[in-house]
Amino acid sequence: MGAPYSEKVMDHFMHPRNVGEMENPDGVGRVGNPICGDIMEMQLRIKEGVIVDAKFKTFGCGAAIATSSMATEMIKGKTIEEALKLTNQAVAEALDGLPPVKMHCSVLAEDAVKAAIDDYLRKTTGKGLEGWKPRSETEEHKH
């Protein structure tokens, strides 16, 4: 395989946590595009500023699925402020690292979380995350 993965990546890939959809999610974020082969959709249930549940669906490679799974695990139970601090590096580190060509998948996972929070804030306050744009769209892909 062109991208040898850690055991943790393979575990989250073969047994992804929090796969699926929820009814009437409070925030939905969809990032990525079919051109580069990864699409992530994240759904959040938010109560009193705390993420009480997170679900995802991902079209993509092993790393895309594993980072989605790990990111949902990392934000569950966190406040919005804490979840916004989640970085792609933290997701990658929690998976015991990713091959360099797959780091963009962790960026996508970070984006998906922020996009879902952005959607939640727009719905509840009428204003999204100030000045935020998905990094996966603004940064050059480093494959």
Partner: protein
């Protein structure tokens, strides 16, 4: 775990008889073929014997076969060798959009050095249009390079017809245009004679036909002016310097001999298994499609796209269950774009990312095919259930 290897287009296991034939040339018969003494001459004789075998397989004269380090070198040698030998007459080269990177990147290299390259498009099956070949030829054209069969989708090009078009156009223009074909996927797999194909140069690779890795050959029609590829010795008639890979070349010869004997029977067997696998996938997995030509296709190639799922994730799941396949998805190659071949056939990015290639070979059994047909639909169902592109899994 029972392992099912279905990636024979990537490489094949070396045939036991090939290994056996090679072994003495590592130790007892280790001589340098350029040496005048017994040790050298023994090795030299072995190389010439192998050359005859490889030449016979493709219907060439032994002196028209130059051994190389593999298919990539053969392609590079053909393109650069002809380009540099004939650039005084013209600097135009025609190739296709679906060539192997060994040809495409070589063409790009020449482009940077002032050559003009025409990339012919292909139709949805991967076939080059004869009329477009004729249209592309100008009085500055020196070389046309079109692969015999595509390594990803298995489509077999009408090489003999293309050769006729090139001949007619070059006669009308009063020029000599060389015709090269990358036959890495067909030599030893399809009956193939250089005279019938009408080519001037043809690339081969031993490890695709149960020979060893690190050895290949370029057929160069007698009378073809070509710039030497490696400098530093008079090996291979001064066309390719470097001490010969004697064990590898000996192995290539034996592999060619075995291929010639077994090809017909083996092809019949492989085509049956191939069609079983294609039929099984298309029938058992909704929203799946065959890529490449349904009929003009390598006997061992199955390439499918499965909607809503990505190739690498299918590949990893298959590998976990012992099945080795390949994909045209960008994710496994480390590049941004998915397979240039699938895109050239007109597939959407999504379908190109959702492609799987199974290539069958000598040790593929009906049981292997049944295993894939049992395992793959389950994997697809599981991945579709987590895909945002579909509802509910099916």
């Amino acid at each position: 775990m029972r392992r099912v290897y279905l990636d024979y287009a990537a490489t094949t296991p070396t045939h036991p008889k090939v290994v056996e034939a090679m072994i003495p040339y590592f130790s007892d018969k280790f001589g340098n073929p350029s040496s005048l003494h017994h040790f050298g001459q023994e090795a030299k004789a072995a190389i010439e014997q192998a050359r005859e075998k490889v030449a016979r397989l493709i219907g060439a004269k032994p002196e028209e076969v130059v051994f190389t380090s593999g298919g990539t070198e053969a392609d590079n040698f053909a393109l650069e060798g002809v380009a540099f030998a004939h650039e005084a007459r013209g600097r135009h080269i025609i190739t296709s959009a679906i060539e192997h990177h060994a040809v495409l990147e070589c063409a790009e290299f020449l482009k940077k050095r002032g050559f003009q390259i025409t990339y012919l498009p292909v139709d949805k099956y991967g076939l080059v249009d004869l009329a477009k070949v004729a249209e592309a030829i100008t009085d500055k054209t020196i070389l046309v390079s079109i692969m015999h069969a595509n390594n990803e989708v298995g489509t077999i090009q009408p090489i003999a017809e293309i050769a006729k078009v090139i001949k007619a156009r070059s006669q009308a223009l009063g020029i000599r245009i060389y015709f090269h074909t990358d036959a890495v996927q067909t030599v030893g797999h399809l009956p193939l004679k250089v005279e019938e194909l009408g080519v001037d140069l043809l690339s081969m690779s031993a490890h695709k036909l149960y020979g060893p890795k690190g050895v290949g050959a370029l057929y160069i029609r007698k009378g073809t002016k070509i710039t030497r590829f490696l400098h530093g010795g008079e090996q291979e008639n001064g066309r390719r310097s470097s001490t010969e890979n004697v064990p590898g070349i000996v192995g290539f010869g034996v592999a060619a001999e075995i291929a010639e004997q077994e090809m017909e029977k083996e092809n019949k067997r492989l085509m049956e298994l191939r069609d079983q696998l294609i039929k099984g996938i298309l029938e058992n997995i909704p929203d799946s499609q065959l890529n490449g030509h349904p009929g003009l296709r390598l006997p061992n190639n199955v390439n499918v796209s499965i909607k809503y799922v990505e190739g690498e994730s299918m590949l990893l799941n298959l590998d976990m269950q012992g099945i080795a396949a390949s994909t045209g998805s960008a994710c496994s190659s480390g590049s941004l774009e998915p397979s240039h071949v699938l895109l050239a056939l007109g597939l959407s990015h999504e379908l190109a990312h959702g492609s799987l290639r199974f290539t069958l070979g000598r040790y593929t059994s009906e049981e292997d095919i049944a295993t894939v047909l049992k395992v793959l639909p389950e994997i697809v169902y599981k991945l579709r259930a987590m895909s945002p592109l579909t509802k509910g899994g099916k």
